[in-house]
Amino acid sequence: MTLALRDISKTVAGQTHIHTTNLTLQKGTMNVLLGATLSGKTSLMRLMAGLDKPTTGKIFWNDADVTGMRVQDRQVAMVYQQFINYPAMSIYDNIASPLRLQGKSKAEIDVAVRKTAALMKLTPHLSAKPLALSGGQQQRCALARALVKDAGLVLLDEPLANLDYKLREELREEIPKYFEASGAIFVYATTEPEEALLLGGNTVTLYEGRITQFGKTPEVYRHPCDRITAQVFSNPPMNFMAVQKAGSNLTFEGGQNAPAPAGLADGQYTAGFRPHHLEIHRRHKTALEFNGRLLVSEITGSETYLHVEHKGERWIVQAGGVHDGRSGDALSVFLDPAHVYLFDGDGALATPAGFGRGA
């Protein structure tokens, strides 16, 4: 089973929602669409589902052209951010409804519904109406309806966005399990990098209607192909700084020097590094020291986010433990050059972080 988008694009009223895109998703994979609001996640999903027709290009399902085929004729299930269930039906009937439409026998339906309900921890609520349940349970019911169909393609459009933080955490842990049990192609849209990492599988990063990178999730996270992908896949946001390469030397803004990676042309680059790689104590001998100014410190109890200004750039330091300080205080932060990505003038990755190469 594969879903292939070939030279797909989508233009609505002169505005390009999706630029020309090629993407092939394999059977039994979890694929996360990661990008900010309006980056094209939902547009892409609607094209995959067949809810919209692409302006150009074709969509293939198992090598058969399904461009323009009705959604009803495809094996597609979709779950939305809003909890969409039939309010007048019991949970049992809600889960059973797609099977009834498929004309399955009563016995078959009963077995499938009970199995899915058990997986979704809905067994005690089968006779309840959706609105009598909590948000988490309502969304479980919507997920159950999507899974019970045994569709080849399951599309989840920010399904956890309307849930409480802790419930989100629980369902995030559970969704990969359902996915493993089903063997379908899962596509999961989210704005949160952490969610993509937790779900694993593959990640597609989206920015302004373009796919910037597609690959295994940790791979995309540690080897972003360009600056935009790195930004999309960093929360807290990635920090940047100008750097000059000359000969065997890298000179950071502020005069710090580090050995330059081999094979890099001389010139101006942008260094990118994630907040948790900045330290407030020197841990490695090779770490570079940067003298900045503290703007704000946010303490979570287990760690502290220190917002630092360094030569006009705003950085975030994600440090373990509790660190307080007054706004405006001088603050030294340390960075191991092994954690630095170098991006060239076009934003393309010039050298990955040494750390990333190893992982």
Binding site: V12, G50, L51, D52, K53, T55, G68, M69, R70, V71
Partner: protein, 290 residues
């Protein structure tokens, strides 16, 4: 948004196409045909070209009916829209009273046009009607069959009674869709009742109000049954609106040619105004989305 194409879908709309062809296109073509010819009976027709159109455009009778029509629609809109909004603002938001209000408001809308006309025709009669008789007893000279002003007041009151509910119900639906947070924020900002209306309620009701105005305009511009039943277009020609005039011309005098030309022009005016409304409305929508 563009949807998936499926050719089978055309079969589903085929019956509607046939129906529209029989009920609209063919009669319309007949009317066009009539409007360009003259007849002296015996089913014999002579080519008249645009003669009827030129004649009508210079006809004082048509222009005065048109003027009366415009004034009538303007008055109706000027009363029903603010009144409807006012009623909607004062309806209870939830609970038993809200449902009861909705039912009461919907009642006038369920009464057939000619029944409404008959009700008011009797209601206003000086000899037996409650309204007419009471007014006469109070010493007010009210007689819609003799006095043009009384006739206008009667017809306008009747229309307001019949149709304000529609505006009110649509506005009510618009009001219900405003999130509670807006009202809370306004309280916190110490906004006056008027500010709440002007800056929150009215902007949020814009869409439904446009629809209400469009429906009421088209409907009132084509009003026929009620004035026909109540006043028959009189006294004199005081309440002869466009459609009453048209029927007089077509059926009363059997002037098929001019009547056909008349109805086409009538149709075009209604279309034109509706199109203007539609354009304005969609532009507003575009401004709302970004």
């Amino acid at each position: 948004m563009e949807k998936t194409l499926n050719q089978k879908a055309w079969f589903l709309v085929l019956p509607v196409f046939l129906l529209v062809a029989f009920s609209a296109v063919i009669p319309l073509m007949t009317v066009v045909n009539y409007s360009l010819q003259d007849t002296f009976g015996n089913n014999k027709f002579f080519w008249a070209g645009l003669e009827w159109y030129t004649e009508l455009l210079h006809s004082e009778r048509l222009w005065s009916a048109f003027g009366r029509q415009i004034i009538f629609s303007a008055i109706i809109l000027a009363i029903e829209v603010p009144l409807g909004v006012f009623v909607a603002l004062n309806m209870p938001k939830k609970g038993v009273w809200a449902s009861l209000c909705l039912v009461l408001m919907a009642l006038p809308l369920l009464i057939p046009w000619n029944v409404v006309g008959t009700i008011w025709q009797i209601f206003g009669r000086v000899d037996i009607g409650l309204l007419g008789h009471t007014l006469a007893a109070l010493g007010i000279d009210y007689n819609y069959t003799r006095d043009p002003l009384a006739a206008w007041i009667t017809i306008i009151t009747m229309d307001v009674w019949h149709w304000t509910s529609l505006v009110a119900l649509l506005s009510y639906a618009g009001l219900q869709s405003i999130p509670e947070a807006y009202y809370q924020a306004a309280k916190i900002d110490q906004a006056s009742r008027w500010s709440v209306f002007w800056f929150i309620e009215l902007p949020k009701m814009q869409g439904v109000l446009m629809i209400a105005i469009l429906i009421r305009f088209m409907d009132s511009f084509m009003i026929y049954t009620e004035p026909f039943v109540v006043t028959g277009g009189g006294p004199g020609n005081a309440t002869t609106f466009l459609s009453i005039d048209l029927v007089k011309m077509a059926l009363g005098q059997f002037d098929l040619g001019p009547a056909a030309a008349f109805s086409l022009m009538y149709f075009l005016v209604v279309m034109l105004v509706s199109w203007v409304f539609y354009t304005v409305m969609t532009n507003l929508d575009k401004k709302a989305g970004y």
